[in-house]
């Protein structure tokens, strides 16, 4: 009798540990791959921050425009890869998605979040910024954020890819990717992504890039396998 209790407690403990790492997703299948481009991408220009000396002096190497970020082997960064169909939408996470303004740049350049999730916008610079997300589906707002002020809290109810800008510093561009799913990844310049914790089913995986458009592919997960799904986007010169 006691042995049974001990083993069941042990079993529960092990099971909890196994589930813990993937914080929101139960064990399931994985879709993984790489996003690359074909064709000639536009050359990115260096940003001139002379009009904001407090930021200009923070960048010893010139900062490049981040619209197109590439890596070795024509890999493409800042691509939002997400499940656009097949995964039921759950409740948004309690944790906030954070967007930072640092040295007159948005960090990250593209922020993925879920519809209804709390968004926190911080200003870590010595200059004022105004946050102006140019949403068309969600209400558009524009707020000033002087240095030292508390984070601005917001949230978006409807899925949308929202360009974000600062009117005071016209070179600052970013995006909020408001999605209906928790399965998403914004690629780094290696173009790699991995979406895990997918229960068996048929899914549509979509890759979105701010310049090179959108592409969708379907994949079926039967168990806990890892499906490989690469995306190749067509680069446009401008």
């Amino acid at each position: 009798m006691q042995m049974k209790i001990v083993t069941s407690v042990a079993f529960c403990a092990v099971a909890t540990l196994a589930l813990a790492p993937s914080a929101r997703h139960a064990a399931g299948g994985t879709v993984t791959g790489k996003v690359t481009f074909t064709g000639t991408p536009p050359k990115m220009k260096a940003i001139d921050m002379a009009k904001e000396p407090s930021c200009a002096k923070a960048h010893t190497i010139p900062v490049m425009n981040e619209s197109v970020v590439t890596g070795a082997g024509n890999s493409l960064g800042n691509v939002v890869v997400y499940i656009s169909a097949g995964a039921p939408a759950g409740a948004p996470p309690a944790s906030a998605a954070t967007f930072d303004q640092k040295n007159c740049q948005y960090l990250p350049h593209v922020l993925a979040m879920e519809a209804g999730q709390k968004l926190e916008i911080k200003n870590d610079d010595q200059t004022s910024h105004n946050i102006h997300p140019l949403s068309k589906v969600n209400p558009e707002w524009n707020k000033s954020q002087p240095p030292g002020s508390p984070p601005i809290e917001a949230s978006y109810d409807k899925p949308e890819f929202i360009p974000v800008k600062c009117n005071v510093h016209p070179w600052m561009h970013g995006y909020f990717a408001v999605l209906n799913t928790s399965h998403s990844k914004v690629t780094g310049d290696d173009g790699a992504y991995s979406l895990d914790g997918l229960p068996p089913g048929k899914y549509t995986v979509t890759a979105w890039h701010e310049r090179f458009g959108t592409q969708s592919q379907e994949v079926t997960i039967t168990g806990t396998e890892t499906a490989k799904l690469d995306f190749v986007l067509k680069a446009t010169e401008y």
Binding site: N130, L134, W141, N142, N167, P170
Partner: protein, 293 residues
């Protein structure tokens, strides 16, 4: 009197009336707030609007600029700047409600009456109140937001604080600290370092308000109107809301300072001129670095 003499007499009377009218107008502008500032009609419009009636009136008065679909793509749009409001987005400059929220009905009625200065939006004040309400109810049909959302809660405007030199000096510090000068310029001329690159939410170039030539604001003429502008922001434009950073009576300090920039004889500008005559050397210039007081 002969016919000729009568004609000369009527022309002379007309001439006198014209001269009187112009002198009177410029005298009022120079010696106080513009005509509109006194008793500007913001009486509540309590009529119930009828969209079907408003539709016909919209075609008559509004569609030429705002378009048959309310998207700001009327046949006149190609000739005018700034572009007419796109009602399908339900984003409005002149509101009493926080940035990102719908205006209350009276906000839109006030804009219809008052027009928008420095734009092609005329003052539709002469339209009967019922017609104004009908037009508003039809305009609302262009965006689903009006049925899905409630308007925001109007910003509370506290009782105005007295106009004192100290208030103006605090306002000047705020102009420096909140970096208004980056767009509006160190003298409020609309020539700040960021001004040239400003675009509105439809990527059209847009100018910041030039206080040194502007006697009326986009959304009114009174101190309360000015307070409301920076506490709600002008949605759809680079002008942000400062409601998170300016609280209560602080806003009046900024209003009092901004009045000193305008070409009007106001209590603020009179006080400021007197103070500057003896204390100007104490002021640090506004601008980059630790300018301000």
């Amino acid at each position: 009197m002969s016919r000729v003499a009568r004609e000369i007499a009527s022309i002379a009377i007309l001439g006198v009336l014209v001269v009187v009218a112009f002198t009177d107008a410029s005298a009022q502008a120079m010696h106080g707030l513009p005509l509109e500032g006194r008793g500007a009609d913001t009486t509540p419009n309590r009529r119930v609007g009828r969209p079907s009636v408003g539709k016909e009136e919209y075609k008559r008065y509004c569609a030429g600029c705002h378009g048959d679909r309310g998207d700001g793509q009327g046949e006149n749009t190609q000739w005018i700047d700034p572009k007419p409001r796109d009602f399908t987005q339900a984003v409005f400059k002149c509101r009493s409600t926080p940035s990102g929220t719908l205006p209350v009905d009276q906000d839109v009625i006030n804009t219809i009456r008052r027009g928008i200065v420095n734009s092609n939006m005329p003052q539709w004040r002469p339209l009967p109140a019922q017609m104004q309400a009908d037009l508003l109810s039809y305009i609302k049909t262009f965006s689903p937001r009006w049925t899905a959302e409630k308007p925001g809660t109007p910003v509370v405007i506290p009782v105005e604080t007295p106009v004192t030199t100290e208030s103006i000096l605090r306002g000047r510090e705020m102009f420096q600290k909140f970096e208004c000068w980056k767009c509006h310029g160190t003298e409020g001329r609309g020539d700040g370092p960021s001004a040239a690159a400003l675009t509105d939410s439809k990527d059209q170039p847009i100018h910041p308000f030039d206080f040194t030539t502007g006697t009326r604001f986009k959304c009114g003429t009174t101190n309360a109107d000015l307070y409301r502008i920076f506490m709600t922001g002008l949605d759809g434009t680079p002008m942000a809301s400062f409601a998170d950073n300016i609280k209560g009576d602080q806003g009046w300090d900024l209003v009092h300072y901004l009045r000193t920039l305008q070409p009007l004889r106001t209590p603020e500008s009179t006080l400021w001129k007197t103070w500057l005559a003896t204390h100007a050397a104490e002021l640090k210039p506004i601008g980059p670095g630790t300018g301000g007081r």
